[in-house]
Symmetry: C5
């Protein structure tokens, strides 16, 4: 899974029916070891995330292992709001 | 999912039968946080997108979660036309 | 899907049985927006492609959505010979 | 599969139910040929790994080929603790 | 599929049961068009490959399309020993 920061929302009126009712959020990937940022992407929110929150994202077919999105055209889903990250880099 | 701009079309007369009737479009991936462009790829259009439109694209097996392409050799699909993107980068 | 140029062939006598009878070709990925080349990979040919032809390639599980390779150890397949690409980059 | 070092833990109280009871660890990918480090990611621990251990990680749908995570929103899993790696680079 | 050179072995005593009996090898990815090397990864050997051999590797769910690894936590498999590669780069 990937860690990222929720930085925005996406709206699309014309879209595939399977996306109806899903909240689509822009997530900026982050490496928590060095705070380097990677490219952003769009994920369906499954946990009620808000802008500014650090989240856990499942990608690929993993993102559809849940009733609400089982048959949706979804390849990324926000699956947790991160409370704490503990990193102990080896010297 | 990925955000990108539709920049072109692809035509192929000799192709696998599962692609017959699908409109194949060239999409240039974009990071909406910094407008950086990434490599282009080809996606099957499921929503009637046109050149110049900003779109939402599902990749991998997600692209086939729809009757029209369920058994097609498709790994990317345009699934929405983006109306608006709101990005609030953290300072 | 990915666009690329067929640049070579691969032969392997000792191989998994599921590959028997498949023509394996080396494809060099290309971004048609700027002609930049990316790394090459090997794809199973499903359409009778030849060296020098520009082709459309499906990757991942998409490459197995076809009877001939449904149960083969294949993660990339040439699914079309490209006749024409039209790119209209936004200014 | 990927080799990496376990460098941390992630805690999330608000999360998808399928993650309950799973230990989520931060893994820093490593190329054992040249010790180069790549970006970190989060994997579900299936073997009792600890921080500082070098591990083997399965990604994508491979990470769910196990009863405990078969229907979980998981795209990466720690599947082994590495005892030894032998690399013989060609000159 | 990917071409690479087998450069090493990996041993793990504590591992998921589905890996028991599989030979895990380190493969260094190679672009046969320009001999550029990419990052290494670990693949399950399905064809009796040895260190120093150039091999064909299937990735993702393709790596499990075979009885021996159908339900294993495997996302990469060596599926052929390459005899010959012929590359004809376009001028």
């Amino acid at each position: 899974m990937i860690i990222g920061d929720v930085v925005g929302n996406v709206w699309a009126t014309r879209k595939n029916d399977s996306l109806t009712g899903l909240k689509l959020m822009i997530v900026k990937r982050l490496d928590v070891c060095d705070d380097k940022q990677y490219e952003s992407f769009v994920a369906a929110d499954l946990v009620g995330a808000g802008i500014g929150e650090r989240v856990l994202v499942a990608t690929g077919s993993a993102a559809r292992q849940y009733a609400d999105v089982a048959n949706a055209l979804v390849d990324a889903a926000i699956i947790g709001i991160i409370d704490q990250v503990e990193v102990k880099q080896q010297p």
